[in-house]
Amino acid sequence: MSTSAQEILGTSRREGRRLMDLWWQRMTEAAQTGHPAAYVFVMAPLSELLLTFDFVINAPEITSLQTAIRGQSQAYIQLAEDYGFSPDICGYVKADVGVQLKQGEHPYGRVPKPALVVTNNVCNTYIKWAEFWEHYYGCPVFTFDLPGWRGRESLREGTEAFRETFENDCRYVLGQLRELVELCERVTGKPFDIDRFREHLREANRMAELYHAVCDTNRHVPAPFNAPLEGVTYQGIANLYRGTPEGTRYFELALEEMRERVRLGMAAVPDERFRLVLVGTACYSHFRRFVELFSSWGGVFVHSTYMVFAGGGFLPGFRYDLSRPLESFAEQMVRATYWGWTGAMFYQQEWLDQVVRDWKVDGICFHGVKSCRTTSTGLPDVREWMRVQRNVPGLFIQSDLVDPRLWSDAQIKNRVDAFFEALAAHKATAGR
């Protein structure tokens, strides 16, 4: 291996860690100095706009999953339950509430209080979650009403019904965006600088291209990265550094590294035997174990739905029109909602069907999340569709995003092992 190749390998992991540390440093400084922080969610992130006003961005889904990766989520969750939250409530919410109840104390640093919360209806829990911050801090909360639920036919691009629906929806969201701009001006005391906003959009365009190019490298056999492992960093950077030169640079490095890995034939999972897609998230309290259960069989996740609908809102093929920034931003939000909410979340079989073909997938793992109805509803139907219509085997396991009490190792391992035993036979029969 050449010296230059050696330098490239591992850069995305190192740089990802550096950027996440830097983000925590900024968060902690904001907590100490009172610099305005905005809370936003990974489905419909608004970094380009919020960065224009110099907000430090907090993505509570990310801070929550990090408590689990550090093996500390249970303590935070139990704190929230002691406070009165039911065991059935979303694990992300409870982990975050636990952090807030401890004055922002987090294993990676300190979470600042919100100067502004921007929520939306893409996940119904978001609204209740934001209500907690509003109640606890008395901060302003802006709720986007994003139109995603429509009859399937009206979402068929190219039809008159689509054009009419889309234009109406964009006008509706644009009106809300203008209200948010006014609110941001009031909270920060800074006027909206449309040229600065445009620059963030320009960076986001470049970042989105790179993000998808990185995902595309996993079409190669063997796959250069394992979607839940590297993907969690990709999603972190895509959300927290969206629209910034640092984010763009990160994905340039990641792409360079993955292409190098492809060139050298380096596999994310040595002796790759099975190529899988993960529907849902990993269980972050057992993150390494989750991946290991599959990789020990030579199974690699070449893609995941989470990389799509929580991947910073990077819509495949979409580019901001820099000549009309706010309008184009509204269009992106509408399209991302159509795609992420209706397409990637509720009509997953269409996306899965394509990924199975293009990423040469052998089987699909559906991970139902006990404390999340939104992402778990319909998984058995999609599994059935893929099995009956496409003869693609599926595995259904259930645990949680961050709550270790809902992880049952022996039962999950038995399901995973039996799945691979059957998959080996299926693959032999299918001649793959």
Partner: protein
């Protein structure tokens, strides 16, 4: 070569000794908390039943929940694969297997070669497993051995609707407090269990021939409820074959592996 199939289940450990496809010995013993010791104990008992010695065993295939805890195993495989294989050898037309075990209920669909094509397992909750029934019996002062007798004597099965074993236990207590007989409560628990097990077969979209295995196959009411609910007929293997299916399948698969290895060596 003598091979041993050891099924270290959550409740019982089953061992089958095979040579050239013939079963030479077997044993059934409670697993307890130490899986390795349960496997060792079970193997010793099976060897004793066959009049064989430890050093006669050339290959060990472990299955069941404790399969990875058997230190002297040569092969570990899931009970789903092992069971499917054994049942297929016994019933070549079998396409759907429903196994109701102590901690687990499994619905397995197999192909014409006995390979697992799809499976559904019960949720983490124990309300759909034999352990729930055992717990109910214990609470009423009976044992698992009384289940069939009590269930057959029931006049009007009590409704046990909860999907949670803990809540179901409260329902059982309420029924007893309300004066319902132990027979009716026992039958009600079986009806509830059969309903949950049948659901797995429906989700799996089972196909004939249907085979019912596991410790609860000896309860006629369980079979009747399932047949009525699913509108299918179940083949129920003789008790020994049903209970030992996974251990037998593990032993058979071990023999198959040895056969293939020998073939490859010859080629």
């Amino acid at each position: 070569m003598l091979v041993a199939g050891i099924d270290v289940g959550a409740t019982y450990t089953k061992v089958v000794l095979c040579h050239d496809g013939k079963v030479l010995g077997r044993s059934l013993s409670p697993t307890g908390f130490n899986f390795a010791r349960a496997a060792e104990r079970g193997l010793s008992a099976a060897l004793e039943s066959a009049g064989l010695r430890r050093e006669d065993v050339g290959y060990v295939a472990a299955t069941g929940y404790g399969r990875h805890m058997v230190p002297f195993r040569d092969l570990a495989l899931t009970d789903l694969t092992a069971q499917a294989w054994a049942i297929h050898r016994l019933y070549p037309d079998a396409r759907t297997i429903l196994d109701i075990g102590g901690q687990n209920v499994k619905a397995i669909r197999v192909d014409e070669r006995g390979r697992v094509r799809a499976f559904r397992l019960n949720d983490k909750c124990a309300a759909g497993s034999g352990a729930f029934l055992e717990k109910t019996m214990r609470y009423m002062g009976y044992t698992a051995a009384d289940i069939a007798r009590l269930a057959e004597a029931a006049q009007d099965p009590a409704v046990v609707s909860s999907v949670c074993a803990v809540f179901a236990e409260s329902e059982v207590i309420n029924h007893l407090v309300a004066g319902r007989s132990a027979e009716d409560v026992c039958a009600g628990a079986i009806v509830a269990l059969a309903g949950r097990a049948g659901q797995l077969v429906k989700r799996l979209r089972g196909e004939p021939q249907y085979v019912l295995t596991g410790g609860l196959t000896r309860v006629p009411l369980m079979r009747r409820c399932l047949e009525q609910d699913l509108r299918v007929s179940f083949v129920v293997p003789p008790e020994e074959e049903g209970v030992y299916a996974a251990a037998l399948g593990a032993a058979q698969l071990a023999q198959e592996r040895l056969r293939r290895t020998a073939q490859r060596a010859t080629a």
